[in-house]
Every structure is written in C-alpha cells, then in structure tokens.
Symmetry: C2
Subunit: 337 residues, 2 copies
C-alpha cells in the first residue's frame, strides 16, 4: 500500500510518545526513519522502529536523556548522549556542529553514550540543507575480517559525506563491506554471492550466501576498505569514548547490554571561502561535467552520488510511500489506532 | 647501492637551492621525498625531483612564493600558495592546521595555487607527530571512469588519514583506483591485469595492461570508490578554488600550464577530549586487539594500516636507503658534485 508520508510520520511519532519519549524527540525519530524510507533505504528506515521501542520499554535506551557537552574547545565538542536515542543525541550533535561551523568555519562533535544511528546521511542532509558540508562516521559490531584473519576484526563501519548541490545534495553514505542485507536476500533465494564478498565460519573464501551469513564479510577493495574501517573506528569510537573493536555489542539485537555507541559529526562552511552561490555553482558545473561525459552505451546513465536517492524522493512525492499492509496495521495497533 | 638518508637529503636539497629555492624550502622538498623513499613509496619520492626542478627552471613553479592567508575564520583557513612548490605550501598549511587545532580543537586549511603534493601522508605524519589526527585530500587529472562512462571522469584522487599510535602511527594513504604504476609494470612484463581494474580506450573492460594504459582506470569497489573520488574533488578543488574535473592539467607532465592544484588538510586534537596518553593507549589496545585475532594460517600476518611502511622505515634505518647507481650519479651531477 502507499501511504501519505505525513500520516506515516504521525504514526511513527506516536510509537515513541506512547513509551515516554517527549513529543519533539519522538518526531526526530520519525524524521530519521522517514528520510531513509523516502530515499529508498528502507533497511535503515521505519522497519527499525519496533526494536528501538522495545529497547526503551526494556530499559536499554533512556527516553528522556540529559544530553550534555562534556568538553568544549570550541570547535571540537565532546557530547555525552546519556544513553538517549541516537536520533535525538546526534540531531543535537549535528545542530551544534552546524551552528559552530557557521561561526568558526568548521566544527566536529564527538558523541558517546548514544545508540543505533541508522542512516548517517539523515544527519548529514540536515547539515547540507544549511549550505554546509557534512562528514559523519559510526562504528558497528565486528562483522568484517581482513587479510590474514579468520574472524571478524572490524565493523561494517559506515562513513558519510553530504555536500550541498543545485538539483540535489551530493551524498555518499557507504559501509566498508558488501551489505549483509544483500547476502540475506541471496541466501533466502538460494543464490550464490560474488567472490570476494565473504568468508565462511572457518575463514575460507565462500560464494555460498548461507555459509557467508554464518561466517564473516570481507572489506571492499581489500586493504583500502579495511583501512577506511580502521579510520572510522578511530574517529567514532577511540576518540569519542565509545566502545570499540570486539567490545562493541549490537545496538539492536543485543538485549543484555547498553551499546555506548560513539559517533563523529563534522560540519564545514564553504561560504567562509567563497560566496555560497559560487560554491554551489562550482558543484553544479562539476556534476554537469561528469554527467555529460561520453557514455558506454546510448542508454547508459552516469549517476552522481546521491542522485538515485533523490529520484526516489521525487517518486515518493508523486505516489506516496510504499509500506507493507502488515507493517501498517502492526504500527497502527501499537499506537492504539 | 645503499646511501645514508642524511647524505641523500643533502643532495636532494641542493637540487633546489641551485635553482633559486631558499635553503629552508629546499629542505622541505627533500624531507617529503625522503619520507616517501624511506617508507617504501618510491613512486612518490626522490624520483619526482628532476621534474619539479625542471618546472622551476621553465617558470612553471614559483621558487619564492608569497604564501598568503586569504580568509581566516579562524578554523577554516584559505591559503593562496602563489604557485609555490606543494612541499612548501602544504607544509605551511599543515603547520597552520596543527597550531589552530591545538588552540581550537580542529582546523581545516584549504590551499589553492599549489603544485604536485606527492605523498599526502608526509604532511599527515608531520601532524600526527604532534599528537594530532590528520585528514588530507588532493584531486588529480582525470584517469578514472565510472559506471556508464566511456571516458575518464575523475582523478585517482588520493585521500589520507594519519593517527598517532604507540609503536607506529596509523596511516591510510590511498588512491580511489588501482595504481597506474602496477599497470605499467604489468605492461612492461607482458602480463595481464585483474578484471575490474581498467577499460580500454573505447570504454570496454580489459585485462590487457597495454590497452588499459591507453584507456582508463576503474574506481575501487565501483560506486563506492567513485563516490570517495567525488568527495575528494569537492574538498580539494571545488571548495579551495583549485582546478576540477576535466579542467585539471597534469602537475608533472603538462609543461603548457601551471596546474593550480588545490589541497585540503585537517588537523584535530584528541587531547581536547581525553588525555593524550589515554587516546594513544586506546589506539594501541585496538591495534593489539585486531592483530591478536584468529589467523587464517599459522604464518599469516594481520597488518594495520601504516605498519608495512613503518617496517620499511626500520629497515632503512638499519641498512640505508636503496637508490639506483644511475639516479645517484644523475642527481650528484645535477648539483655539480
């Protein structure tokens, strides 16, 4: 079924006000989920909300955190999330980063005691909407091996940059490994996965999707993907005071621990170097330069990072948001409708 | 032959003082080349120096630039390199970034009107030696295609992070494509290159190294490598005022243009969040955690980013720097010795 995003936002918000989250904060959780749903990244969208809700109900997430600046330098800010929802803590972090970038040129906010961040580019887009460049990182539990290892040593560790553009913001929001979701889909369909994606539980290369799920992922581009994963671990966990490496517990699946996630958010103001319109003009000129390149076939499409997600936004604006009947009914009943 | 690095440094310095570069600046050029040579990245080391020297002699590089802060915010600094050697301009940029990071927590310096940066991690290591984290980017002429394109649309666009460590600094300094040097070596040896590395001049996939050299590279990890390349182009060129996209001319091979390279250097001070020794202890704990993981075979080596280069430094300290007899004689005669 197709729902009106505003209606879906209201239902998602109520899922949290009904478990003690203040109205405004509950709206932030819904915002984040809707951004992912509307941009076609459903795996990071409203599908996650029942878990967040259950974690609040089971005392694993603080619904009313006192988010606190611990150190203030003033362009490197250390933020204690008091175990609040990341959607609340990191929204605050992005706000601080943007305000300070406007003032000083650049600002980085390092958060800890936070939870599952979901779509990094949600926070980045909030920053880019203000004409600023965002750079965001977040570590995850270890799922990924590296050369010479026969067990996971690093997370899928997403890294994200968002840049203001003319027709659409440039957005790169990527994990340093193939997506586990794609492997799950292959396993469900009984299909193989490409070579180089995964090892089995004994650390041997495999193209068997089921064996890969029992085993571990491999980093993209070998030592380069692994290296980016290490960088993400440093910025988002070692630097922030968050849990790192093998001590990271799953912020969704593990109900025995509070995860103490750490995140890193930077905002940078290009208008401190050139007029905002000049920067956006240069970005647009570059986009057009790349997109008008010689094509490999007449119907080839040279995409820019973030362009597919922007097309999805346009599609949703036209026809509404596709939600399964089952999810729609489940969420409605959760909020007593 | 093996030379004493100090002797080699002196010869390299003289190569530039003899063409009008002030002694201190010439020393910086030698520093950068030596860092690359000593860390086993000879392709970015002293082998490049005759080209820099010739470019100075032909009026393409300004040997005595007036490097000038154009905008000062104070943590986003715009630096006009006055067409100086990047080894001089970006050393200044790294210095400013580190000083300001010490004061404010973080500082980014965007340079333009500069030249070939060579090894990004040289500048990053200078920052990491002071206990700071470095993040550096630099665009290049277009050598890399992307999905749907049949011509190069983006540079090999290196990106680099350096992080202080206990036994060695963590260093990731990577291009977003396979190394052209490896393809040149394969072509010279008449060997094929792996699938997915390159397209021929008509934009068709090829494993023929010679055809690849006439054609174009492919980004690592498909849209992810391409996306990182776009990010590097934005930070180092669109933001700085440097040349971007297809307008970039080769800073070594093109003797018809001054390249107006742009670079981006960030420094961040972890001691604003926790005591320096606590940060380094966390980094070291993480390094040990990863390195002590279960191995794929008893003699497997789980390396950390920057570890191989550190081992090369130790080797050079022991036995000296390997330089070909021909290069040694050539450089000596250039400086009249």
């Amino acid at each position: 079924m197709f729902v009106n995003p505003a209606e879906w936002h209201e239902i998602c918000t109520k899922m949290f006000t009904t478990v003690g989250v203040p109205e405004e904060d509950a709206g932030l959780v819904a915002d984040t989920a809707l951004t992912a749903d509307i941009r076609g990244v459903a795996s990071h969208g409203s599908v996650r909300l029942p878990v967040y809700r259950e974690r609040i109900q089971r005392g694993l997430i603080n619904p009313t955190p006192s988010i606190r600046i611990v150190n203030d330098c003033p362009t490197l800010v250390h933020l204690d999330g008091d175990n609040g929802l990341a959607q609340v803590v990191d929204n605050k972090a992005a706000q601080i980063a943007a305000e300070r970038a406007n003032k000083y040129g650049v600002c980085c906010v390092a958060t800890y005691n936070t939870n599952h961040m979901a779509l990094l580019s949600h926070y980045g887009l909030k920053i880019a909407e203000q004409g600023l460049i965002a750079y965001i990182m977040c570590n995850t539990p270890p799922f990924v091996a590296t050369m010479g290892a026969a067990e996971p040593v690093i997370g899928t560790n997403p890294i994200c940059w968002c840049i203001p553009g003319k027709e659409f913001p440039i957005v790169l929001d990527m994990a340093i490994s193939p997506a586990r979701g794609k492997i799950k889909n292959a396993a469900a369909a009984g299909k193989p996965i490409p070579e180089g994606w995964a090892l089995d539980k004994n650390g041997r290369p495999t193209t068997d999707a089921a064996a890969a799920l029992e085993g571990m992922l491999l980093p993209i581009a070998g030592h380069k993907g692994y290296g980016i994963g290490v960088v993400v671990e440093v910025f988002s966990a070692l630097l922030t005071g968050g849990k790192y490496g093998k001590n990271v517990t799953h912020p969704l699946d593990d109900y025995d621990h509070k995860p103490n996630c750490g995140n890193f958010i930077m905002a940078l103001d290009p208008s401190k170097i050139m007029a905002e319109e000049d920067f956006v003009r240069r970005v647009d000129d570059y986009v057009q330069m790349v997109k008008s390149s010689k094509k490999s076939s007449p119907d080839a499409d040279i995409l820019f990072p973030g362009e597919l997600e922007h097309r999805n936004e346009l599609l949703v604006a036209e026809r509404g948001l596709e939600i399964s009947d089952e999810t729609y009914q489940q969420y409605k009943s959760m909020v007593g409708q």
